[in-house]
């Protein structure tokens, strides 16, 4: 999937993946896509909840070898 910005939150625990996502999105333009990688399994539900509550769109979540990759489209 194409993306405009990437952030690696591997090794970080709740709530840092969410806070880093929020910060990463801050200087992006509407419609741009952020790729975020995390190893915190709690982030799977948290990222969906973040998207639901902020209006950003979680395009996809992929899991491979304990690592989660999220694609978030900015509102």
């Amino acid at each position: 999937m194409n993306f405009d910005k990437e952030f690696d939150a591997s090794g970080l625990s709740c709530p840092l993946p969410i806070l880093k996502t929020k910060k990463a999105l801050a200087d992006m333009a509407s419609g741009q896509v952020l790729k975020l990688v995390a190893t915190d399994c709690g982030a799977v539900k948290d990222m969906q909840a973040f998207a639901d509550q902020t209006g950003n769109t979680l395009l996809s979540t992929e899991e491979a070898n304990g690592s989660y990759t999220f694609y978030m489209k900015k509102k």
Binding site: C14, P15, L16, L19, T21, T39, Q53
Partner: protein, 156 residues
Amino acid sequence: MSSKKMAIIATKGTLDMAYPPFILASTAAALGYEVQVFFTFYGLQLLRKDLSTVMISPLANPAMPMPVPMPVMVQMLPGMESMATMMMKQKLKKHGVASLQELRDLCLEAEVKFIACQMTVDLFEFDKSEFIDNIEYGGAAMFLGFAGDTDICLFV
């Protein structure tokens, strides 16, 4: 759409009890909430410039997981509190949990409003220069003015 609001009353000054208010406040701010945290009694310790005095004690805390079972008589020995704090900080770091300092900075960056209880400041004879700069001082009525209009209000 006006943003949702959350108010937290932080009354504890130990390392373990410092996390919930900072985690919830920073996360709520990231979700677009307007957040205020009112620090009163021991919670005021969390507004000090120097957070290194915020500790955890295994004493009277049977729920704290210990590497080896430790009788209360041992837990009360001098230095045990520092040791427990050091071990807890190492554990937090190993698991990628943010430090209190980092979470507090993230709260401030996200414009979470911190209010220090003026009565407690006077009661414990704290010097305001010990506290971080970007906080307000106020009382119960000031806090309730905001809290009465919130979607979530928590006492920690």
